[in-house]
């Protein structure tokens, strides 16, 4: 039995994880390799000598950690703002039928169909006129708004999976709509909310275009900071790989805690797939 589970579940998971982690592990291996060893042939998979000089330089002689913090502030802000805007919207789309519902949902999505690279210039001019360039607010607003349609669609989809009979049952028992939402629907939506929150966090964390054009000095995110390691005539691979190793960690750590919520909603415990 345990062997079946091992072979049928754990081995495939290991294989998929191997695929997911191999490039990142290669990055980690490179970040502890002295630079001169990167261009020696034949190529050595395992480093012959280990060095922490790249990490030390990254942490002590650059302002990388500061920028991780900037990214964190913006991402948390974007998740909060995004969820606050998207949850009511998703509930409206899921639980109500009203004229224009379909058209509105589709028009919402147009936002994301448009290549952002062309929108950034008018946005830049707009924010400049409002005096909001290079502020946390600008980036949070930009990130939250551009991820809103996806967030709303996803949350609507998760809400749709919760039978509306549950709302009705609660209201028959005397709860108001708001109470029904808070006490019955929201707890069941928790896995969906976790997934959307992770999506919002990662979208903001990885975002480069707005961070480059709309901010950069007072607010510099980690994506812009990484670009500083790529110069005209020089690419600091050591700092890039060390930075690349670190930059994946916040999302992983956050999801490690949040994924506890991804358990079967109605009865709890593992669901047999």
């Amino acid at each position: 039995m345990r062997l079946r589970r091992f072979l049928g579940t754990e081995v495939p998971v290991l294989l998929i994880l191997a695929f997911a982690l191999a490039p990142w592990l290669w990055m980690i291996l490179s970040s502890v390799r002295p630079e001169r060893d990167w261009t020696t042939r034949p190529l050595a998979i395992m480093p012959a000598t280990l060095t922490l000089s790249h990490h030390i330089e990254l942490l002590q002689r650059t302002t990388f950690l500061q920028h991780m913090l900037d990214s964190l502030v913006v991402a948390v802000g974007a998740v909060t703002a995004g969820l606050l805007l998207a949850l009511p919207a998703a509930y409206a789309f899921s639980r109500f039928r009203f004229r224009g519902r379909s058209t509105l949902r589709i028009s919402f999505l147009i936002v994301n169909m448009f290549p952002v690279v062309l929108l950034v210039l008018p946005l830049f001019v707009l924010l400049r006129q409002m005096g909001l360039l290079d502020t946390y607010f600008a980036l949070i607003a930009g990130h939250a708004t551009f991820t809103l349609p996806f967030a709303v669609w996803l949350l609507t989809s998760y809400t749709d999976s919760i039978p509306v009979e549950l709302d009705e049952a609660a209201m028959v028992d005397g709860a108001t709509r708001v109470q029904a939402l808070r006490l019955v629907v929201l707890p069941l939506m928790l896995p969906g909310i976790v997934a959307v929150a992770l999506y919002l966090f990662i979208a903001s964390w990885n975002e480069y275009l707005f961070a480059l054009m709309l901010a950069g000095r007072d607010v510099r995110t980690v994506t812009v900071a990484l670009q500083m390691f790529i110069g005209e005539n020089e690419m600091r691979w050591g700092l890039l790989t060390a930075g690349g190793t670190l930059v994946a960690l916040p999302a992983v750590v956050l999801f490690l805690f949040a994924q506890k919520r991804l358990v079967g909603g109605l009865t709890g415990g593992a669901v047999k797939g």
Binding site: R5, I16, L17, A20, L21, W24, W26, W38, R41, L43, I45, L84, L85, Y91, A92, S94, R95, F96, R97, F98, S102, R105, I106, F108, I110, V111, N112, P115, V116, V117, P122, A144, T145, L148, L154, S157, Y158, D160, V164, P191, V194, A195, Y199, W205, N206, Y208, L226, L240, G244, V247, A248, A251, F255, Q259, L262, G265, L266, T267, A270, K272
Partner: protein
Amino acid sequence: MSQARLRPGSATPWLLLAPALAAVSFIVLLPVAQTVWLSLHRAILTRPRDRPFIGLDNYAALLADPLFWESLRHSLVWVVATVALQFALGFTAALLLNRSFWWRSAARALIVVPWALPSVIIGLTWSWMLDFNLGVANELLLRSGILSESVAWLARPDTAMPAVILALVWQGFPFFAVTLLAGLQAIPAEQYEAATVDGAGSWRCFIHVTLPGLAGVIATTLLLRMIWVANSLDVILVMTGGGPGTATHTLPLYAFLKAWSGLDFGYGSALAVVLTLLLLGVVIAYALRAGERA
């Protein structure tokens, strides 16, 4: 599945939607409108005073532009291959991560690593791994005897597109893994128990309980991901810049290069509008087929 219902004419849904609509209208609609307007002009960024209105000329030029059609073809291949592979891998991962084994929490957390990396890191790392001279991919393939000589993956038109597709599949499959995993949680255990009691094996459970229960989320995530991938250009830009030649030119990349390299914002905007209209067509077709529900 839920069937929502309510008194028609109620103002409640609009109140709930108001904040989201306001945010989007203010920050996004104005730039979109400006860009569409710009596509009807000849607009070179560095000549702000020379902006004649030329109507649909940019669009006419676009239809006659062989590179537009080539980019469109590449975009189709790009979107279909990437989304299909991301979905297949992500769905498998979601099903597996839904089972219980002692290190499940760690596995779930680690699977998001590809998704959590910025595009510049992904582009550079994959370019480096696929490098002709110093890439670990060639090295391993040579050592294991699968290849007899190094392949310049990103310099050959026949391998460049598969290479960027591979990088994107790697980057994006955790999206499906996480969102589908969340969707799996909404399927009540009772349905599985009932099916098992009726004598269904795991395959039939999958077809008759899992898939129907997940159908809405699957459809939504596929649609959203398709839109996202169709518009993404970061990784391709870093890995190949659209090359070699124009082998990895996709529509958004072409629009980007026209606007920011050639500074022809009129034409670039027209390309962006065409891409948006094509995606809109797909979404409308999807909405019509799915009826009112999705």
